[in-house]
Amino acid sequence: MDVTLDPQARTFIEVSEVWVPRDGVLVHAQGNYGDREAFAAVSGRESFALGEGLPGRAWAEGKPVVLKEFDGSYFKRTEAAKEAGLTSAVAIPVFDGKTLKAVLVVLCSDDTERTGAIELWAETDGLMMLSDGYYGAAKHFEWVSQHTHFPRGQGLPGGVWSARTPILMRDLGSGYRFIRADSAGKAGLTTGLGLPVPSPVGETFVLTLLSARGTPLARRFEIWDSRAAKVGTTGGAVLIDGICARDGRLWDEDNPRTAKAWEGPIGTVLGSGLPLVMGGNPALTAGYASMVALPIHLDGEHAFTVAWYC
């Protein structure tokens, strides 16, 4: 299976945190920092106004923001991050219509080995073009992505765009469109999670998280559907796709897994409509050290939740 991994491998994302608006500023809500206690402490005291720092920037721009270099940037916690070995970050705002619900920030640490990709695609002239992305050591793939575009329905970005639903692909490496496929194979990128990112500015964005064997972005992926058109008016969510390095396939056409609001981590996301970052309690996170769950609000409802575990 594509995401069968060496459990010792270092993960692509080192830190995840959630910021929520309160009294006009973004305040720290949750974080999973591992053993980076100093950075955790600094972050806990921080807050961001509209346009300020990375989370404030994502809020102001109404779209995900990628920051590959902290030095000399608007990043507010540069010193603490450097001490914690963190070098890059992506902030993903969660909007419900024009209302900001939260900002999810993930931080990565650059070295010459860790590959993976977090990409932001934006519609330009009827095509999905790369807006920005963080690729770790997958430099050639980065170059290729910058020079690739996806028409509607094609590839992971084009598929997510036209289907308006998150898509989990197992097979990025073979047959994936154009030279990108080839390069993805060489970079070891195998599994990809693509999700629509609703934006209050009316543009269409697709975020893709591409996972590599050696430095997985996650070992388990889940996509939950909570649209009324799928689950009815009674609420809850069904797992429409998922794969796990340990448990294999998580989907079952005839007996899909379900989640109820406020029951378990996914239920917490369904109930609150906010992202969730959890760590240090494997019993709650499918046996993995940490999990991140991200809600997607479309057309006035909490439509999907994507979750990744590692």
Binding site: M1, D2, P151, R152, G153, Q154, G155, G158, G159, S162, A163, R164, T165, I167, L168, M169, R170, D171, L172, S174, G175, Y176, R177, F178, I179, A181, R227, A228, A229, K230, V231, G232, T233, T234, D241, I243, G248, R249, W251, E253, D299
Partner: protein, 810 residues
């Protein structure tokens, strides 16, 4: 231990063995032949493997290890050569094995249409992992094109998968809508839109002629001459039960291997299961009945009582983001009733088919919530008479209080958006109402709410009602027909603002309550669509009244009248002779000179129409459109050529007008006249457009009437030249075509919109030029002689499709 031999390791036999080993572990010595060099995988999940959304490993159900653990002797990759029923043995390529019981599960083969070129490399069926891998390989070539023949479940899944892999994909489908076995036309239309949104090109009613290529597939050619480049052709047109072995063994075989309710073939020791069986005349392609059969097979082998019963089936399409569901029987029938629910904003279509007190069928698109519940109601034959009014809303509404739409609107917060087109929220409408806009028109004027597509008109009215309470009197506008709540004007606005270019698109966007309209709305929609989108929309003859479909006026005895065009009322001796000859030849009982200066042949039999037209065509005459909602006649006086009072060449101008306007479709009939002087011999002052020649030029009058109402024309403009007369007239007709309600004559329409508005449009040189241009674009499509066209292309429609008088009488 009993010896069981199984031929075929597919989903049905895999499930049967599972049941057998669950209940009787170790009691059977099983040998399993499989032509494919592997165990069993979930074939219906191949589509997500094709698209890259699942891996093969995830869809394996029984691998070699599983069979080994159950003690099954696997002979994978080995074909069975023969069954010897007398000796009770099965012979494979590598030897013979004896059986006590034999289970045939040979499945089916894909049906390949024997088109020229079907054996070229690059033509694949879509059936197994090998096919899937060939398709994945073909998609790896940048910019490659694929053609999928067959717009059923499998074909569309293949198309979506190949598209996600990066191919340019075209689906060819022979029927008039996609997945016609599982979906009705409305849902098929939405599915097509959805696929087209993914960049998949769908061609319906496509007749494939041949597959071409030099040594490999290069293109697919259709009967209409279209050539589609393709490096991959996927045939997904159906399956054929694989019955060769059974036939050779002398088992009873019809469409497939006959089995009884216990899944036993005509030989008591041989059972069959899956896609290779025929049970009570039916064969099976979906997985649910196969699993039911597998259960029965296991029970029969155990010597237990079990009966296979065919059940209702449901369908879902495995294309991520396409939510559709269909179950049961949704054909219309006696005592059947439809409940149709459409939500244009969400792209939702739901249809329930009720027969008596039971739900018998359901088709959902865009919203499949509770589909299992509905399927249960169908399967169980539940009595739904108590809750039929709320049935379509699903289980959550059953037993609860009826929904009050007013309460829902009253409860909306002020910032809730009511009008999506113009972004008007409830608060803005409430403010406008409080500011004095107390009816729909005033709200429209002040806020623009419901002023574009009009689908929120009902909501705006509810806001009015909830804000004003009893003070609001709903000025209920007349809906177009019982199929919709929208007025003709609403529908015209909707067609333009949302660029709706097909009838199903209008039905969906206008929340039609019937599957395909009625005799009242269909002709109107057909006109609106062809008037607004002359290049994109195809005229639908089946939505026209008989006169326009047959291009002749039906008379009360079912015969027809035929009237050739006489430009400006001018004819020649040759034309008159041809008319007389035709009248003789076809025994026309009545020949009449009409009020429009034409000669009408009355009493022609329907089947003679193409022949009489051909004769008149041969004499140089074309259809006079005496039957159409379109330009009828331009009546003229003789003008300066002969008349001592004539001021201009009224005859020449009349002919020029008729040549410019003929063939155009209009909301109702349009009659013109040109009089050479104010004495008005051509009676131009009571026509839809009447031109009076004067010394200084031309007076153009419009909106006259001389039918049920009599009304003099109103002056549109005075102009100097013939060119101006033509331009003003074309602009006026086009304005009428674009804006009037179907079956409103120009005088009625002008009364509604006001002559001032009409003048503002037509007298503005810029607007006039655009109107003329749009009119001419339309004429480039529609100005053609329907007689010649019908004689050439549709003559067979005029005669009976069959004559059974002799055959049936015997």
């Amino acid at each position: 231990m009993q010896k069981l031999v199984v031929i075929g390791a597919g989903m049905a036999s895999g499930r049967a063995l599972e049941h057998l080993f669950d209940t009787q572990p170790g009691e059977w010595d099983v040998t399993l032949f499989n032509a494919e060099p592997r165990g069993n995988y979930n074939r219906i999940m191949l589509s997500p493997v094709l698209s890259g959304e699942k891996s093969y490993a995830e869809i394996v159900t029984h691998d070699e290890d599983w069979y080994a653990a159950q003690g099954v002797h696997c002979r994978f990759g080995e074909k069975v050569v023969a069954i010897d029923r007398a000796a009770k043995t099965v012979t494979g390529e590598n030897g013979t094995v004896a059986y006590d019981k034999l289970l045939i599960a040979t499945g089916s083969n894909p049906f390949i249409i024997p088109l020229p070129g079907h054996q070229l490399p690059g033509v694949v069926a879509y059936r197994d992992l090998e096919d899937t891998n060939v398709m994945i390989e073909a998609s790896a070539i940048p910019g490659a094109h694929a053609v999928v023949i067959g717009g059923g479940l499998l074909g569309l899944e293949a198309a979506a998968g190949l598209r996600l892999r990066g191919m340019e994909v075209t689906v060819l489908h022979i029927a008039t809508h996609l997945m016609e076995r599982q979906l009705d036309a409305a849902a098929g239309f939405l599915l097509q839109k959805d696929l087209e949104r993914r960049g998949i090109n769908c061609i319906l009613q496509a007749n494939t002629k041949q597959i071409t290529g030099d040594g490999k597939v290069e293109a697919v050619e259709l009967a209409d001459g279209t050539v589609l480049p393709a490096s991959l052709v996927v045939m997904a047109v159906g399956i054929r039960p694989n019955v060769q072995l059974a036939k050779e063994a002398g088992l009873a075989v019809g469409k497939a291997i006959h089995v009884d309710d216990q899944m036993v073939t005509s030989d008591a020791d041989i059972l069959a299961v899956g896609e290779c069986v025929e049970h009570q005349g039916a064969i099976f392609g979906l997985v649910a009945p196969l699993y039911d059969q597998a259960k029965v097979v296991a029970a029969t082998l155990r010597g237990e009582e079990a009966t296979f019963v065919q059940k209702q089936l449901s369908t879902k399409l495995k294309v991520t983001g396409c939510d559709l569901f269909s179950a049961g029987d949704f054909a219309e029938g006696p005592n059947r009733e439809d409940i149709v629910f459409r939500d244009p904003a969400r792209g939702v279509y739901k249809r329930l088919v009720i027969e008596g007190e039971k739900l018998v069928g359901a088709v959902f698109y865009g919203d499949t919530a509770d589909s299992n519940w509905f399927f249960g109601q169908i399967r169980d034959g539940a009595d739904i008479s108590a809750n039929r009014d709320t049935l379509i809303f699903g289980p959550a509404f059953q037993g609860g209080a009826p929904v009050d739409p007013m309460a829902a609107v009253a409860a909306l917060p002020p910032e809730a958006e009511i009008c999506g087109c113009n972004g008007v929220c409830k608060g803005a409408i409430v403010d406008a109402i409080k500011g004095g806009a107390v009816d729909l028109g005033a709200v429209r004027a002040t806020t623009k709410a419901s002023a574009s597509c009009g689908t929120c008109t009902g909501l705006v009215e509810q806001v009015l009602a909830s804000t004003l309470g009893g003070a609001f009197e709903r000025n209920a506008p007349q809906p177009m027909c019982k199929c919709t709540d929208l007025t003709h004007e609403d529908v015209r606005r909707l067609i333009k603002s949302q660029e709706l270019k097909s009838m199903p698109a209008v039905w969906q966007a206008g929340a039609w309550k019937t599957p395909d309209g009625c005799h009242s709305c269909r002709p109107a929609l057909n006109f609106y669509l062809l008037a607004d989108w002359p290049l994109e929309y195809t005229d639908d003859l089946q939505s026209r009244f008989i006169n326009e479909r047959k291009h002749a006026n039906i008379q009360k005895d079912g015969t027809f009248s035929v009237m050739p065009r006489m430009w400006g009322g001018i004819t020649t001796p040759d034309e008159l002779r041809a008319i007389a000859d035709a009248a003789d030849k076809f025994k026309v009982p009545t020949v009449k000179v009409t009020g429009g200066q034409r000669i009408d042949l009355l009493g022609v039999k329907g089947e003679d129409l193409p022949a009489i037209w051909a004769d008149l065509n041969a004499a140089g005459m074309v259809s006079g459109h005496a039957y159409s909602k379109g330009l009828r006649t331009v009546k003229t006086c003789v003008g300066t050529d002969h008349c001592r009072f004539g001021t201009q060449d009224s005859t020449g101008l009349g002919i020029a007008l008729e040549k410019a306007l003929w063939g155009s479709w209009t909301p109702h009939k349009v009659k013109l006249a040109v009089s050479g002087c104010p004495r008005n011999c051509a009676e131009a002052t009571c026509k839809d457009v009447g031109v009076i020649c004067v010394d200084s030029g031309y007076q153009i009058g419009v909106a006259g009437a001389a039918g049920m109402d009599v009304k003099e024309t109103e002056r549109l403009a005075d102009v100097k030249t013939e060119e101006e007369v033509l331009d003003y007239t074309m602009a006026f007709i086009q304005l009428y075509r674009e804006n009037a309600k179907y079956l409103d004559r120009p005088y009625k329409w002008v009364a509604k919109v006001g002559l001032d508005w009409v003048k503002e449009q037509v007298l503005d040189a810029g607007i006039r030029a655009q109107l003329v241009e749009r009119f001419q674009i339309s004429q480039s499509v529609y100005q053609k002689d329907p007689w010649a066209e019908h004689v050439k292309e549709r003559a067979e429609q005029y005669v009976p499709v069959a004559d059974l008088t002799k055959f049936a009488a015997e």
